[in-house]
Chain length 309, copies 2
């Protein structure tokens, strides 16, 4: 199987359109960027056994490789447009590649995203790097460095589900929350809706504690987090404290958004966008890193997210 | 070593500028695209022992990972702007990463290209995926599908040098042409100069025969190639026929440009851009794939480029 036949057979579903002059099949893709917008771009890699369990279906891997990048675009408030794919495989398994492609195109099609280029190559371990391209109206990107004292800290949904699922899988137990790990849903619509509301935003990929820490470091502020206000699945609610917050604070892979905005904007947003569920879990303070509280009492907990090496 | 310290230490040299609102250090980079231009984007991956010999210095690997992508941009006639880097490593070796970063930034700086994002992760084998972003004035991209009958087929310089060097290295011989393999130079200025001249273009990464074949297939035409007109290094000139053309026709990694233009434009280009060395090596014919000639005599040779699997 040559690289070219593989691409032609599995990865050429999206051809040129109005705003994609050249798609898969040339040295590069050529794309129109809408007037008045900036280009938003990110790259994220998944390696077998490192970023997903070895028994993960190819369809889910294709989904997740796109989802984690759309999540990064969403964390800037950007509108996703297209992706490139760098796919490294230890061998050519047609059924695997077809299933992977189905998962990849399913999420792309759901968000109107086109696969416009990339390459496939041999490597001893399966690895997938996706680069995602999106757009944002000029100067409206929501960064990590805009958090302000007294901002409400919010998250977009259940935290800790993916980490809990992974812990069950690693113990060879079935998990009711397996889909949360395998098929994370990027918060694309919410990210865009938060333009003009949120002061700062990040997606939760490496753990709420560590990811919120990036906002704090970039913004030069601290945070007070109310653990009891962080939404989680009922399966996590009655776990022992250390175990529960290991998943909620230090677990990764939820791909929910964490963002800050002032109290007025928070109320306005809830009034204007009642269909989005957003949850206030604390507030930005002047300094002191992340201080944790449970029912108003300060609690100690060691924040330590995903380590890449 | 966390991913974040590694990026902060080694990959944060390019901060925000006039046209890069957000560089390394947020969920995404945010970039201005010049008015009247289209975005050009490509992704290319290098895997250790597959795309470079195991003894390749980290500095050269950093260079080459960027060079192969700038070469793809050049093959569209695009102006390179920025890159993202997906770096997978089996362990954190500070000296290796520093050397790799030096090689990567050296070629970036030479072409005014900024590293604006990406990720680093653990993987059993070293692998590097770079995505390159460039711009082109609207509707001026030079594609693979524009070749026309009677076009002159051209290349931009010596062909076969990298393949010859690789064959020496694999036989544990020193190679005078090692730099051609380790430090390929993308034809950035020539690619842009060919806007408005070339009907079709590709870069030679997998072998002249196979890469020209992509132009022919996309354009629905054939080619007559004069082997004796293909420029090569003196070290290749007196090799036995089969060996010589194995490097020149089937060898890869030269990253020269192969392009076609009509005879008038070819003469005009040489008059207007005398400082570029371009070489006519054949012509586009109606059909028949690639027909090879040597001193006017048809010769048989099996065209077979780099197989990715």
């Amino acid at each position: 199987m040559s690289e070219f036949s593989l691409i032609a057979q599995h990865f050429s579903r999206h051809q040129a359109t109005n705003d994609i002059a050249i798609s898969v099949g040339d040295d590069c893709a050529v794309v129109d960027v809408p007037v008045g917008h900036q280009l938003v771009i990110c790259t994220d890699t998944m390696v077998a056994n490192r970023h997903y369990p070895s028994d993960t279906p190819a369809h889910a891997i294709g989904h997740k490789a796109v989802a984690v990048n759309l999540s990064d675009l969403s964390a800037m408030g950007a509108t996703p447009h297209s992706i490139t794919l760098a796919l490294s495989l230890p061998s050519y398994d047609e059924a695997w590649v077809a299933d992977f492609a189905d998962g990849l195109y399913a999420i792309c099609d759901r968000y109107g995203v086109k696969l416009i280029g990339g390459d496939t190559t041999y490597a001893p371990t399966t690895a997938i790097s996706v680069t995602a391209v999106g757009y944002i109206p000029k100067h409206q990107a929501i960064t990590r460095h805009g958090a302000m004292v007294d901002d409400v800290i919010c998250v977009s949904g259940h935290i800790g589900s993916a980490s809990f699922a992974l812990s069950q899988i690693l113990q060879n137990q079935p998990s009711q929350l397996r889909d949360k790990l395998d098929y994370p849903e990027p918060q694309v619509a919410l990210g865009q809706a938060l333009r003009g509301y949120a002061h700062s935003m990040i997606d939760i990929s490496d753990g709420l504690g560590q990811d919120l820490g990036h906002i704090l470091a970039a913004s030069g502020v601290g945070a007070r987090l109310d653990l009891d206000k962080i939404p989680c699945h009922t399966l996590l609610e009655h776990l022992p404290f250390a175990q529960k917050y290991q998943h909620i604070i230090n677990g990764g892979d939820d791909y929910q958004l964490c963002f800050t905005m002032n109290k007025e904007k928070f109320d306005q947003f809830q009034a204007n966008f009642p269909h989005f569920s957003i949850h206030a879990i604390g507030e930005i303070v002047a300094d002191g890193g992340v201080q944790l509280f449970e029912h108003g009492q300060a609690v100690a907990f060691d924040i330590k997210g995903f380590e890449h090496f």
